[in-house]
Each structure stands twice: as structure tokens, then as C-alpha cells.
């Protein structure tokens, strides 16, 4: 008798009902867009306007999600309708021809985006926000001492075990930082820089969220992050504990975009989703939630964002075609140096 009850219980747990499906689009994105970004507001607005549900899927950082998408596409089994990524990952996407082309007929709000931002070099990939990779420090930990003034200063033994950065193989932020060091030190010197900061690193995380949580859990006081971090604290009314700064006045340009995945059955809805993302309404949420600069020129910026979001004096960037050609080589050289100082 007792056995029968135990077995029944196991069966009951296993055979629980499944929810009925309704119309929805699936957006492959990165974890911070969901945990910080306008994801929820966007989903709600989209549901109101088009009576269609939005499902966000993340595999961690943007690169991890991208790999998942490519792997799924290779075996022909993805249910992604839209994909969001950082621009420097575009060379990887280009090889796989993932996106449907879009025009301003499909997406009227494209008219409000400056042409230089739209010129990504890849049809179908639409930028929706941009910003700068810089460093962020914990002001409570740097009271007597100041944070490193330049990238070169990061090698100072005074900062031993204090820097968290992201893995360029798995994180878009980490990849932008790697590109920054290449742009700054040159192709023949950047590896020396990485060797020199070995002792300054606490750890190299898989993604930005992991690194941010380590910073805010006091595991280390310095990380590779965005130039808008101070603005974030200011907008949330927090004391300005975690502050962004551009070492040596430098920063690396980062652009996030979205594309309609080829093979989708919901191309029209997917394009309408992009249009909504570019609308003034959602674009004004970008600085507040993603804490990035909106691409729509009609969007008004919050006062605190205007005041604290840093635009570095020198913005570095490496042309995408060069990134595409050298990416694999740079990453392999980096991983070789990073595991054997």
C-alpha cells in the first residue's frame, strides 16, 4: 500500500499538465538586457499593440547566445525569430548569413536613426543603442589611493588582485576590451600588456553580469564596464559608489543591434518588434534601463544621464573587416597568454 502511494506520487509529479500555446515571438538576447534592460516594458508594449507574446531567451552573454543560435541553425532546429548582439560579433554572424534584410518601409523608425550608426556593413542588422567600454571602480575601496590613471597603470602591483574583466571569447564586453588593448598598444604590444596585468586580475568571468556582481559583492574594486555606470547610480538615486572613468581619456566604442533571423515564420511581427524598439517611447527607456545611449535622435535623455554619462575624449574602434579577418588569431593569442603568464 505504502509503495503504491509513493509510486503514485512520483507519477503525479512527472505527468503534470502543459500550458496551451498562443502566438509569440522568440527573442534571443543577452542576460543583462533581460535583468536590467527594457525587456519587460518592451514585451508589455508589444503585447498591447500587436496582441502577441514575447519570449526572451538568453544563454548568458551575447556571444554565448549567438553560439547557441548558430549551433541550432546548423542542425536546423532554432525557434528564434529575432537576435540581439554587439556589433563586434558581426564578423562571426556574417559568415553564417543569419539575418533577413530590412528597409525603412518595414521599419519606419529607421528614419530617426543617424546614417553613420546604421552603416554597420551588414544588411539586416539594426543598431538600437551604443556606448563606450571604460573602467568602473568602487569609490569606497579607493579612498586614499586613486584608481589606475591609464591602461598602463593597471600593471602597478598596488592593484594586485583588484581587476575583474570578462572573457573575450564568451563576452562582448570582454571582446571590446581586448580590441581596445589592441587599438591602444598595437598588434605587436597588446599581449605584453595582458602579461603585465596578470597579477592585477582577480578573475576573468564568462560575462559582464558575473563581473558586475563580483564588484558589487566586494570581491574586487575595479572592473571593465561601461562609461555610463556613474549615470546609472545617479539615476537610481544611489550614492555614486561605482563610478565609470575613461583611463587616459580613452574608451572603446560598443554598438548593440538586432536582426530578424532567417527562416522565421513571424517575419512581419519580428520587424514590427524592431520598429517598436526604435520608437521614441522605448528608446527613452534605453538610458534609464540599459544605461546606454539611444540611437533615436528624438529621444530625450534624463538629466542625470546627460550629466554623468561619460563620452571619452578619444574613442577607439577597429574597422569591422579587420576584426573579421584577425578575430580568431587575436583570440587564440590572447588565450595562450592569459593561461601562462
Amino acid at each position: 500500500m505504502k509503495r503504491a502511494i509513493w509510486l503514485m506520487l512520483v507519477l503525479l509529479i512527472c505527468v503534470s499538465p502543459f500550458l496551451a500555446a498562443r502566438e509569440k515571438i522568440v527573442v534571443y538576447t543577452y542576460d543583462s538586457f533581460v535583468s536590467w534592460g527594457p525587456a519587460a516594458a518592451l514585451k508589455e508594449a508589444f503585447f498591447k499593440k500587436y496582441d502577441c507574446d514575447v519570449e526572451y531567451v538568453t544563454a548568458g552573454g551575447g556571444k554565448a547566445t549567438l553560439s547557441r543560435l548558430i549551433a541550432e541553425r546548423n542542425v536546423g532546429e532554432t525557434n528564434a525569430d529575432l537576435f540581439m548582439a554587439e556589433l563586434n560579433d558581426v564578423p562571426r554572424i556574417a559568415k553564417y548569413d543569419l539575418f533577413l534584410p530590412v528597409t525603412s518601409d518595414d521599419i519606419p523608425n529607421l528614419a530617426s536613426v543617424p546614417a553613420n550608426l546604421l552603416a554597420t556593413g551588414l544588411s539586416g542588422f539594426v543598431p538600437y543603442e551604443y556606448g563606450y567600454i571604460t573602467l568602473t571602480y568602487d569609490a569606497q575601496a579607493f579612498v586614499t589611493q586613486s584608481p589606475p590613471a591609464t591602461l598602463e597603470d593597471l600593471a602597478d602591483p598596488a592593484y594586485a588582485g583588484e581587476l575583474i574583466c570578462e572573457d573575450p571569447r564568451t563576452s562582448s564586453t570582454g571582446f571590446s576590451f581586448l580590441l581596445w588593448t589592441i587599438a591602444h598598444f598595437g598588434e605587436d604590444k597588446y599581449l605584453d600588456f595582458w602579461r603585465s596585468i596578470h597579477n592585477s586580475l582577480l578573475t576573468i568571468t564568462q560575462g559582464w553580469s558575473e563581473a558586475w556582481s563580483l564588484l558589487t559583492h566586494n570581491e574586487a574594486p575595479l572592473m571593465v564596464s561601461f562609461s555610463t555606470d556613474t549615470a546609472y547610480a545617479a539615476m537610481s538615486g544611489d550614492p555614486l559608489r561605482y563610478r565609470a572613468y575613461a583611463p587616459g581619456g580613452e574608451g572603446y566604442r560598443t554598438v548593440y543591434g538586432i536582426g530578424v533571423v532567417k527562416g522565421t515564420h513571424n517575419a512581419k511581427l519580428a520587424k514590427e518588434f524592431i520598429d517598436l524598439l526604435l520608437s521614441k517611447q522605448i528608446q527613452e527607456l534605453i538610458p534609464k534601463t540599459e544605461v546606454m545611449f539611444p540611437v533615436n535622435t528624438n529621444a530625450t535623455l534624463p538629466q542625470a544621464f546627460k550629466r554623468y554619462a561619460i563620452v571619452p575624449q578619444t574613442v577607439l574602434s577597429i574597422p569591422l573587416d579587420v576584426v573579421g579577418k584577425k578575430m580568431a588569431q587575436w583570440l587564440h593569442a590572447w588565450e595562450t597568454v592569459i593561461i601562462q603568464p
Binding site: 505504502k2 509503495r3 509513493w6 512520483v10 509529479i13 512527472c14 503534470s16 534571443y28 542576460d31 533581460v34 535583468s35 525587456a39 526572451y56 531567451v57 538568453t58 544563454a59 548568458g60 556571444k63 554565448a64 553560439s67 547557441r68 548558430i70 549551433a71 541550432e72 542542425v75 532546429e77 588582485g161 572573457d167 571569447r169 564568451t170 596578470h198 586580475l201 582577480l202 578573475t203 576573468i204 568571468t205 564568462q206 560575462g207 553580469s209 558575473e210 558586475w212 556582481s213 563580483l214 558589487t216 559583492h217 566586494n218 570581491e219 574586487a220 583570440l331 587564440h332 588565450e335 595562450t336 592569459i338 593561461i339 601562462q340
Partner: protein, 563 residues
């Protein structure tokens, strides 16, 4: 099952055995040999067809060579530390008597119950720069900086591995030590041979098989360890497993990934072979009828030895309990207040974006996978165990090795093999629930065989023969005699199988597709987003579910387990 038992005399080869073997190999071909061969064949391919370039670069390129050397290095250090901690524990278990000894011995199964991802979480919470240990020491001694900065390095990885594996050494060596015949030792003592010389010359050689066997086991475990290295090591302290994961999951460089798998299999096969050999030899060591005399630990006089033991117990208490207690404390703590808020949020939809599904659905998925994988691995494992013990067949050794092959293949490699092998024809399963269940079953059944084998070997064959001579059919003899005698072994195997499946993350994370998640994957997802409170709550759920499984199976069996 009945097929494997065959007709007629069970000690000779019958048509039944051949049929059973054929069925087994057919099944394994589909879910293991073919997928693995498919993946390994990728190691011999380059951008322009067949090529040795991937293998060549894996064994000559500084990055891969360092990856391989670091994997061996951390496994060697982890094995040494586990031995150090475990041998002292084994000595105490063998030579002293104290209340709670049985409980302590039962607690050494913890490595099988605690999934690696939970151990990693416990370590971050307890040994982290702002973990409980550092915070306590800083406030006690007014230190401005955390005294222990050990976690995100080789030291952190080795410590976590010792946490996991020292109990294995303690258990295996302790049992052997306790069973040693004291006569020789006493004879030497009466001849005036000193304590240390007696230990080095008499005790140690007789313990050697147990020490070697447990070392080889620990080495293979830590060599193939994945979640702990991934979580604590970051990009700088990466092993072959982490390298394979990065290659196949993020960089999509399957050729180098496959070449790395090949190298890993060759190394782990060598050590698995060493383990199986020393284990076989260990059985030959004869045990005396008398046992080592044991001293009462909690009795006067208190000597230096007992003081050292107390110190050891204190250190081990902090080392083993610290991380586990940290998880429980953290799960009850959120936003400066105490309570069950973290658990309540697991029921809400707040974390769904990180997991791609709701936390409750995650628990359900884990239970489905766990139950079915347990069932499948029991069926396959029991068939193989019967074959290994009963069948007399030419080349049995080779067949046995082929059947136990998954033991030498890492979880990440099996996950990758099934990802590739099951996506195309003949089975189109992709990253479905079925694929994950298959992966778990393949990973787990060798452990089922290892649990059942010694019990089957001890089973009295004459009982079955007597029943047969009295007219009982082979099937009835199995159902009425062998199965009841095997029940305890099957229950123990089922508990281990279920616990292993509940905690499996490495193969699952490679296979699983968005929208599906298991408890360990959820813990990892929350951990990556450093949602510590929620991750802890999820980890406590995992521990609780596994514990309930232990108790349920215990109840179903109607008698206490003494694994």
C-alpha cells in the same frame, strides 16, 4: 531483463547471452559508440577534408599543451591534498572508537550527493574575498583586508576538489585499515620495532592497494572535473574540460574540440586502467580473522595524539561544514533581512529570464530526467553486471572493457557526442529531454555495475541451481531468488544513480536547449548572474530533493541502507 539470463545453465554461454549482448551493443552503438565515433572523427578533419592539423595543434600549440599540463597538475595536487586529508581521517576511523562514528562514516557519501555546482557555490560564499570566513576573521581581528585571497586560483580549485574527494580516500582506505590483521604488527612490536618503522614497513605496504586505488579514482574524477573549474578558475585556470566546453559551445570550433576530447580520453583511459587493475589486486589481499584493536577517543588519558585529532576535527568541521552551512544561511538571507523571500521568489516568475523557464518547471524537469535515467541505467547496469559475473565467454575482458567505456569519457565529451550524434539521423533528438535522459543513463550505468557487481559475486549460485533442479524456470528462479537477494544492492544503486542524475551538469549544459532547465543548470544560471540568494535557495532545493529520494527509496526498500 529476462533475455539476459538465458535458458539452461547460467555459467556457460547460451543463445540467451548472445542475444542479450547483441541487444546491449546495439543500444550502446546508437547512444554511445556511434556518437562518440562521430565526434572523434571530427578530430581528423580540417577545413579542407581529412587532416591531422587539429590533433597536431592540440599536442604542439602552447595554449593546448598548457591546458593539458594544467589539467594534470591540478588533478595531481587535488589527489595529494585529498590523500593527506583522507588518510588522517582513515587512521582515526581505523584506530579509534567514538560515538557518532557510524554517522561520520555515512557522511562520507556526501561527494555522491552534493553536485559539484553546489560545492562551487558553497566555496564562493564561504571562502570568497568577502565570504563568511574572511568577513568573520576581519571583524574578529579588525583586519582591513581579507586574509584569504585564495578562491579564484589553483588553490581554490584544489581545495574544492579535496572537499569532494578526501571522503572517498577516507572511506576506501579506512575500511582496508580497519580490516588489517594486527598479528604481524604485534609480533614486530614485541621484537622492539619502533612505531614509525612498523607503520612504514608493515602497515603502509598492506594499505598500498587501497591507497593506490583511491588515488587513481580521485585523479580521474579531478582530471575530468568541470563545474568547479569553470566556476572558480575563470579564463586563466582552465582545464581540458573547460577548453572543450569553450571550443564547442562558444567558439564552435568542433575540430579542435574533438582533438582535445581524444587526448583527454587517452589520458583518462590510462588512469582508469590503473584504477581497475589496482582494485582487482586489492581483492587478493587477505584479511585476518582478527581486527585492529581500537582505542576509545573520548576517554582518559588525553595524549598528544588526541589533541591533534581534536585540532584535525575542528579544521575539518570548518572546511566541510562551512560551505554547506553558508549555502543554507545565504538562502535564508535577502536584502538585509531574514526569511524565506529567496524561496518565495523561486515560485514567482522573477528569475524565469535567466533560466528560460520557471524554477518550478526546472524541478519537475530534473525529477523526470532523474527517475527515467535511474530506471534506464538500472536496466542496462544490471544486465551488464550479470554478464560480467556469470557469463563465461572468450574475450570477456575485452567485452567488459567495451561495455564500461563511458567511465573513461568525460561528461562534457559525452554531452558533445550526443549533441552531434543525436541531432542527425538515425535518431533526431537534438537537445530534447530524451537526449538528456540518454546522456545521464550512459554516464551513470557504469556506477550501477560497480555497485551490483560485488553483490552478485557474493550471491550463492547453488541456491539458483537448487531451485532449477526442483523444477523452477530460469525466469522464476531469477524473480524469486536472485532479485530479492539483490534488492538491497539495487536500492543502493538506484539511490546513487538518482543522486548522480540530479546533480549532473556537465553533459546537460552542453545538450540542453533554451526553454528547458534542470536544477543544477538553474543554480549555475543564477550563480553566473551572481543572484546568490536565489542560487542558494535553488541549491537547498536540490539537496532536499536528493535527500527525499534517499529517504523514499529507503522506505520503499523497507530497510535501512548502509551503503
Amino acid at each position: 531483463m529476462a533475455a539476459c539470463l538465458g535458458d539452461g545453465d547460467h555459467t556457460t554461454v547460451t543463445r540467451g547471452w548472445y542475444l542479450a549482448l547483441l541487444a546491449l551493443f546495439g543500444l550502446l552503438a546508437l547512444v554511445f559508440y556511434y556518437p562518440l565515433a562521430l565526434v572523434l572523427s571530427m578530430a581528423f578533419k580540417g577545413p579542407n577534408g581529412w587532416s591531422f592539423s587539429a590533433i597536431e595543434s592540440v599536442i604542439t600549440d602552447p595554449y593546448y599543451v598548457h591546458l593539458i599540463l594544467f589539467t594534470v597538475k591540478q588533478a595531481a595536487y587535488s589527489t595529494l591534498l585529498s590523500l593527506g586529508i583522507g588518510l588522517v581521517g582513515a587512521y582515526i576511523l581505523a584506530r579509534y572508537n567514538f560515538p557518532g562514528k557510524r554517522t561520520i562514516r555515512s557522511l562520507t557519501v556526501i561527494p555522491f550527493v552534493l553536485p559539484a555546482i553546489v560545492v562551487a557555490l558553497g566555496f564562493i560564499l564561504f571562502f570568497g574575498n568577502s565570504g563568511y570566513l574572511n568577513r568573520t576573521l576581519m571583524s574578529l581581528f579588525g583586519l582591513p583586508h581579507p586574509p584569504f585571497r585564495i578562491l579564484y586560483s589553483l588553490v581554490g580549485i584544489v581545495l574544492a576538489h579535496a572537499f569532494y574527494n578526501a571522503p572517498i580516500v577516507m572511506r576506501v582506505v579506512g575500511a582496508s585499515w580497519e580490516g588489517l590483521d594486527p598479528s604481524i604488527d604485534e609480533a614486530a612490536q614485541s621484537l622492539g620495532v619502533g612505531r614509525w618503522r612498523r607503520f612504514i614497513g608493515i602497515t603502509l605496504p598492506r594499505l598500498m592497494p587501497a591507497i593506490l586505488s583511491s588515488s587513481a579514482l580521485v585523479f580521474v574524477f579531478t582530471f575530468l572535473s568541470f563545474p568547479i573549474v569553470l566556476t572558480l578558475g575563470g579564463a586563466r585556470y582552465a582545464t581540458i574540460e573547460v577548453g572543450i566546453y569553450t571550443l564547442v559551445r562558444t567558439l564552435l570550433d568542433y575540430n579542435h574540440g574533438a582533438a582535445l576530447i581524444l587526448v583527454e580520453i587517452v589520458i583518462s583511459l590510462s588512469f582508469t586502467y590503473l584504477y581497475l587493475r589496482t582494485e582487482g589486486r586489492m581483492a587478493i589481499v587477505t584479511q585476518g580473522s582478527r581486527r585492529m584493536p581500537q582505542r576509545a577517543l573520548f576517554a582518559l588519558p588525553v595524549d598528544a595524539g588526541k589533541v591533534l585529532i581534536a585540532l584535525y576535527a575542528l579544521l575539518m568541521g570548518v572546511f566541510f561544514l562551512g560551505p554547506i552551512v553558508s549555502i543554507i544561511i545565504d538562502s535564508l538571507h535577502s536584502a538585509q533581512s531574514w526569511g524565506i523571500a529567496n524561496y518565495a521568489q523561486l515560485v514567482s516568475q522573477r528569475y524565469s529570464p535567466f533560466l528560460g523557464t520557471s524554477p518550478l518547471a526546472t524541478v519537475r524537469t530534473s525529477l523526470i530526467i532523474g527517475s527515467l535515467a535511474t530506471l534506464a541505467s538500472l536496466l542496462v547496469g544490471m544486465t551488464i553486471a550479470f554478464f560480467v559475473v556469470r557469463a563465461k565467454i572468450i574475450g570477456r575482458w575485452a567485452i567488459e572493457a567495451a561495455l564500461m567505456a563511458p567511465l573513461a569519457v568525460s561528461s562534457v565529451a559525452i554531452g558533445f557526442a550526443l549533441l552531434r550524434g543525436l541531432s542527425g539521423p538515425p535518431l533526431r533528438l537534438g537537445g530534447t529531454l530524451v537526449a538528456i535522459i540518454i546522456a545521464h543513463a550512459v554516464l551513470i550505468y557504469p556506477f550501477v555495475v560497480r555497485v551490483l557487481r560485488p553483490i552478485l559475486e557474493g550471491l550463492d549460485v547453488q541456491l539458483v541451481e537448487a531451485a532449477r533442479s526442483l523444477g523452477s524456470s530460469r525466469l522464476h528462479a531469477f524473480l524469486d531468488i536472485e532479485l530479492p537477494l539483490l534488492r538491497r544492492g539495487l536500492l543502493v544503486a538506484a539511490v546513487f544513480a538518482f543522486a548522480l542524475s540530479m546533480g549532473e551538469m556537465s553533459a546537460t549544459i552542453i545538450l540542453i536547449r533554451p526553454g528547458l532547465s534542470t536544477i543544477p543548470i538553474a543554480v549555475y544560471g543564477l550563480l553566473s548572474a551572481r543572484q546568490f540568494g536565489a542560487a542558494s535557495a535553488m541549491a537547498v532545493v536540490l539537496i532536499a530533493v536528493t535527500a527525499i529520494a534517499f529517504i523514499s527509496i529507503d522506505r520503499l526498500g523497507g530497510r535501512r541502507l548502509n551503503a
